[in-house]
Symmetry: C2
Subunit: 280 residues, 2 copies
């Protein structure tokens, strides 16, 4: 997905939120916004929005000497999601269609997002997700693709959310390679989160090789690209992965909640809608 | 009022809205955002937010060869307000305290704002304004200052809104100098709007000399400054005038509705609150 002009005010909003997570020094916060501002004139609208994530979170990391400002938030998200895991696992197993219920919970987990959607309400989301209609629902194609798949590449998104992904992985009945970000960026999941969530017990975990809240293929590691090329089915979680892969001609299934008006418009759905969409 | 970091995403939002009012060419719209972006690194936070209005609306005007992109919107606002004028005039005259009712309607008119508040609902505002409690209510000081005043300087804000200002001017019983912007900027009132609204029949109308959505004193015309210096009471309408004059040590009465979180916080009120506040 290209960048739309509405994304530009949002870049600054996200940059400010990220900067405020890491420092109370207003000069340093302003420096992050300045770094974004300097990039704007040469930022091509053909680029995907997460390409700006490089600049935003790069500037934030510079301030913190490449630390992990969202570490506490991520730990809390993982902890909370793990508390919910047993009851959700039971609901999946008792559901008429366990795979579909697991898809629903995996999407519900996608509200845990301190970038696009910092005011999320996980409890409300979980209450609504069991019955909410999908705005795009390529479920039959998804099931068929899964049946024929040798291996599933699963692109994770946020810490906490990945506990819900585990519920879905456990229903796939196929070998899964689970992908996390290469280094901390916002509250996106990294290798450490995957271990905490127990993903390593149900899938092979690798990283994209990059600290970007999305999957910018030209920047990803060779190891990741090898898996990407050979995977017969790809599950892509969340907005950042959708923004960077929406134009790919591959068998990618996007699972997400449309949390911003630009993405909703691109998907031809409403803000708040849930989506299971095959690429292309 | 200084600029807060939250204002920066909002500058881009306003710039985008203004650009979209004047052109459908995305490249030109981006050029406006680029112009704002280039100013950000050197924009001191001590400056008031309307100083950025210079850059935003300057860039927009360059695209339109210094035309008046909001002309149609302003004409429609004036027309609509003039239709409402007779019934509001009657309500003022029949009110227990006509001056206060006129203050209320003048504040209600302040929702007509295509900069900070493009999704306004004038009908709802007028319905609520007659009874809504003020969050800041320096009304007794205001009445006393008016009694002692030789001349009132009234700083107007938006087209349409100035018809409601006329209701208040008619209750002041003092000579009034009414100030409009020096040239078109967003939907702010200019000399032409003052004539259409009939302000010239109840006050002397002058301009600030600048095309800025606020009153940046160091840039205003000498003529304006002469009136500003000698006025014993100043009525300042709207956010832009508040932002640029809030630190002035003069007898300024700010009449406004707090339409953005930054201004609300600065005034120590809630978003949506109405305010009659003496400066200092």
């Amino acid at each position: 997905m290209r960048t739309y002009l509405e994304c530009i005010p949002c870049f600054f909003r996200q940059a400010l939120e990220a900067a405020r997570m890491v420092t109370e020094d207003e000069c340093k916060q302003k420096a992050v916004l300045d770094a974004v501002a300097l990039k704007i004139p040469n930022f091509p609208l053909e680029a995907t929005p997460p390409e700006m994530g490089f600049t935003i979170y790069g500037a934030v990391l510079e301030i913190t000497n490449h630390g992990d400002p969202y570490r506490v938030v991520k730990e809390e998200s993982n902890r909370r999601a793990l508390t919910l895991y047993p009851q959700l696992k039971r609901k999946v197993e008792e559901a008429e269609d366990p795979l579909l219920m697991a898809v629903r919970f995996a999407i519900a987990g996608n509200v845990i997002d301190f970038g696009a959607n910092p005011d999320f309400d996980l409890d409300q989301e979980l209450e609504e997700i069991e019955t909410r209609p999908f705005a795009v629902f390529d479920y039959q194609i998804f099931k068929k693709a899964l049946e024929q798949a040798d291996e599933v590449l699963y692109l994770g998104d946020n810490a906490g959310e990945i506990v819900f992904d585990r519920l879905l992985i456990e229903q796939l009945s196929k070998p899964v390679v689970f992908v996390v970000r290469g280094a901390p960026v916002i509250n996106d999941a990294t290798l450490n989160d995957a271990q905490v969530a127990g993903i390593d017990q149900v899938a092979k975990v690798i990283s994209s090789g990059i600290a970007v809240p999305g999957t910018i293929l030209r920047l990803c590691s060779k190891k990741f690209l090898q898996h990407y090329e050979k995977a017969s089915v790809i599950i892509s979680k969340g907005q950042g992965n959708y923004e960077t892969l929406s134009e790919e001609k591959r068998s990618i299934f996007f699972l997400l909640k449309a949390k911003c008006p630009v993405i909703a418009r691109h998907l031809e759905v409403e803000v708040g809608d849930i989506v299971l969409k095959k690429s292309g």
